[in-house]
């Protein structure tokens, strides 16, 4: 496989993942919960497929975006449900 294309793909995947993680509001590992850990495990596997061109980058973006949207929605639900309880 062409090393330059691997590098471009790796950079693209890194930038997208970083942008998505920052946009989702996560800042440090210390802030992590079990939900964060679960999402991190799934994202790691998705990154592997994109890096080695086993899936299209667009499919990688859709998978990561969907996971993080669901993750953010769960955070919002936990916060609001927790507020309603207290």
């Amino acid at each position: 496989m062409d090393p330059l294309r691997i590098a471009i793909r790796a950079l693209f995947v890194f930038v997208i993942l970083l942008a998505l993680m920052r946009a989702s509001g996560k800042r440090t590992v210390k802030q992590g919960s079990p939900f964060d850990f679960t999402v991190a495990l799934i994202l790691a596997d998705v990154v592997d497929d994109a890096l080695w061109a086993e899936v299209a980058v667009s499919q990688f973006v859709i998978a990561c975006g969907t996971l993080l949207v669901v993750h953010v929605l769960m955070d919002i639900a936990r916060f609001r449900f927790g507020e309603a309880r207290s």
Binding site: A23, A53, E54, V61, V72
Partner: protein, 133 residues
């Protein structure tokens, strides 16, 4: 809620960038290159995951799940276990490519899957598949 909008915005922008790359002619970077598609196809056949192998086949081709399954089972019967699968770059034009994958088998030595691919909606799909011993 702002985090939700930011994630959706980043996702949309990233999709736009990849779509632009494909529209402007990228055939190997943001989409799996032809040799990767053929290698994935051969790996799925080697693992007897014929339904997964079918996802790499062009819908307009005459290759069906039955074709893939029969070919895969015949290969396993004749050559035994498959030790290694490796895609080889071949000839790539704008919307068509001819590449192959080499399967190293236990009993049958090296077997080559020669494939012709067409680009459909930006992705490479296998239109013809031939086993060469």
């Amino acid at each position: 809620m702002s985090e939700l909008l930011k994630v959706m915005l980043v996702t949309t922008v990233a999709l736009g960038v990849t779509a632009a790359a494909v529209i402007y002619g990228d055939t190997r970077t943001v989409v799996p290159p032809p040799e990767s598609v053929v290698e994935q196809f051969a790996r799925h056949v080697a693992a007897r995951r014929y339904d997964r192998a079918l996802q790499h086949i062009d819908d307009r081709s005459s290759i069906t799940l039955t074709t893939v399954r029969l070919g895969g089972e015949a290969l396993h019967e004749r050559a035994g276990d498959i030790d290694r699968v490796e895609g080889e770059p071949g000839i790539t034009a704008e919307d068509s490519a001819t590449v192959s994958a080499v399967l190293t088998t236990h009993r049958g030595g090296r077997i080559r899957y020669a494939c012709s691919l067409e680009r459909r909606n930006g992705l490479w799909k296998i239109a013809k598949w031939e086993e060469i011993r």
